[in-house]
Amino acid sequence: MTDKTSGDLKLTGITKTFETFTAVDNLDLVIPRGSFFALLGPSGCGKTTTLRMVAGLDQPTIGQIWIGNQDITDTRAYQRNVNTVFQSYALFPHLSIVDNVAFGLRRRKVSDYKTKAMEALELVQLAHIAKKKPGQLSGGMQQRVALARAIVNRPDVLLLDEPLGALDLKLRRQMQIELKQIQSEVGLTFVHVTHDQEEAMTMADTIAVMNAGRLEQVADPATLYERPTSTFVANFLGQSNLLKATVKGRTSTTAELDVHGVNLRLPVDRLKATTTELWLGVRPEKVRLAGPVNGGAADRDMADADNQLTGVVVDASFTGLATNYLIRLPWGQELMVVQQNDGTRSAARGAQVTLGWAPQHGFALSADQDAHAGAQDQADDSGAI
């Protein structure tokens, strides 16, 4: 509450090992005060361990945790002005809803705890069930009580550990919007741990993608999606087409690339000066199709699509909103293309097509990485939802 303790949350050189397993590996992270920050990654990437260390439930093996200019590394959980919304909600079954919410206030000897607890329940629209016990509530209601119980203490940092994981899809969507509204209303720092990339993108100002105990990339959702810096991020957030490319020449604005004998271009600022080999990435919805069936309209669309390839349609699946194509390129690689269902284009299986995309929609990733990193994790997690 005082200026001494409030401020940015900083993790410096955090490592956590469990016997032989390194859960978190030399993590440096700054989470600005008042931001909605998401820690995103597949199961076992160390995101929950990181959260528990901030909460004080686990001790880092090496490194420090700071809130503002105060080192809280060696303080116990109950001494930290940090509250957690647990994945299982962890509501006290023997206490009424209002007593659950007032629990933290009463430990801190806040005098008007009853009023404040009721205010917090009103914020999550549950004031009418204040006298009930947690066992009498639905999962969605329990989730909101858990949120109210944490928010009521006005912590410097509010930690959310997969808070929507147990809810069904419709309720998740609703709670995502509600959580975001509540965050902007109360202005607290939210750190949200999730394995659901869509949830992280929808809610967070800034996302830190974690993989195998390390940070892959920290950025706002749009940057993360448009300019991933690793194949893991490119595949874990949405889908990516990655093409093996070699740098042939550079001008002041553009790099000329060779992709299996085809000339493609990329803005030169996407590349490091020394790069010669790279993965050229492009998102499926950025690629446009032209082919025998298309008339002038499609050709007009292709006007700025300087990067052009040819291929054969091997699969076309209509999803209503769009059609997902799988195009086999001359060297055998299959490219994903998503065409919005705006009534102009269609291509049948077996059709010879031309594909194209604007050079600025491409991104470059260093060639020494596994092109499939993160793809499997994402498939697993979306399957689990």
Partner: protein
């Protein structure tokens, strides 16, 4: 989906054809649950209700074993028995109560450790708790005679740290000896009923979700507050179960005070035992049994109400 289909099907198919046939069937009650209750009920009637009535009638009869007993509705037996033996009742309740508190104090940390912290040692510890049952109750109680004997190491240690002086001050010893004293009887009771306290406590602490303890810490509760506000209230079903399983049999116990006590430590169970088997005054013995049962029932009822465990179980 399959379940929904199965539920939806019957109302559409049977009404026209089979409902007149089914109607009388529906009206019949389903007797299966009562049939399943029957063996248990029969057991209770033969081995609980009948002996209870027999005991009640015995307590109101007069006569002797040689000349036979006749029913005389002699309520005076209760008055006589109570006025003669009320100190034994009081002593039994004090001894059993003390032993119950001691088992609780000993068992709680142990059960907590086993349930929350022992990891893969959990099963081994559980077996160790139950292991004493493989030896006879009598043998285990007799072993305390050796443990507390005047020239044993336990007594020597107790003397060295002046524990004996403290116990003497509390009038728990007899003539500077730990054996054949109130102290020995309470030790025996505590030892013998300890597993009956540990197991229910373990069961309720094992169910305790560890994230609740973390949540309490997260909400600024110190470890002591976490125990008082979360762990203890959530373990109350185990505490109530354990104290009942300890207190009830301990208050009627007649072995510990006979083997480890003296004439000043006689408990009511011992009195009933000797009234039935040695003095053979069946009426008094039956009356004492009845009063003991009544006292325990009232105490337990008050205790369970006070503890308010209905919501927690």
């Amino acid at each position: 989906m399959a379940g929904q289909v199965a539920e939806a099907a019957p109302p559409t198919a049977p009404p026209s054809a089979s409902s007149p046939v089914l109607a009388p069937r529906r009206a019949r009650r389903n007797y299966t649950p009562y049939l399943l209750l029957l063996p248990g009920l029969a057991w209770l009637v033969v081995f609980f209700v009948v002996p209870m009535l027999s005991l009640a009638s015995q307590s109101l009869q007069t006569g002797s074993v040689d000349s036979g007993y006749t029913m005389t509705w002699h309520f005076q037996t209760y008055v006589d028995a109570l006025s003669r033996f009320w100190p034994h009742f009081a002593r039994s309740i004090v001894f059993a109560g003390t032993a119950t508190v001691l088992t609780l104090v000993l068992a709680y940390p142990l059960a907590y450790f086993m349930a929350q912290k022992s990891g893969r040692w959990k099963n081994i510890l559980l077996v160790l708790v139950i292991a004493p049952f493989f030896t006879s109750f009598l043998i285990r109680t007799l072993a305390w005679q050796t443990i507390l004997s005047d020239n044993g190491p336990v007594v020597a240690l107790a003397r060295a740290v002046h524990l004996t002086d403290l116990l003497q001050l509390l009038q728990l010893t007899s003539n500077d000896s730990l054996m054949n004293s109130r102290f020995a009887v309470i030790c025996g009771l505590t030892y013998n009923f300890l597993p009956f306290m540990i197991l229910p406590l373990y069961a309720s602490l094992e169910r305790l979700d560890h994230s609740l303890i973390e949540a309490a810490g997260d909400l600024y509760a110190t470890p002591a507050q976490t125990f008082m506000k979360v762990t203890w209230p959530l373990s109350l079903p185990g505490v109530v179960g354990g104290t009942l399983l300890t207190f009830i049999p301990a208050s009627g116990d007649f072995i510990n005070s006979r083997l480890l006590g003296n004439t000043q430590t006689v408990m009511i169970g011992q009195v009933i035992d000797s009234q039935f088997l040695r003095i053979q005054d069946y009426a008094v013995a039956a009356a004492l049994s009845f009063v003991l049962m009544l006292i325990i029932t009232v105490m337990v009822a008050v205790y369970v109400r006070r503890a308010g465990t209905e919501e927690l179980v």
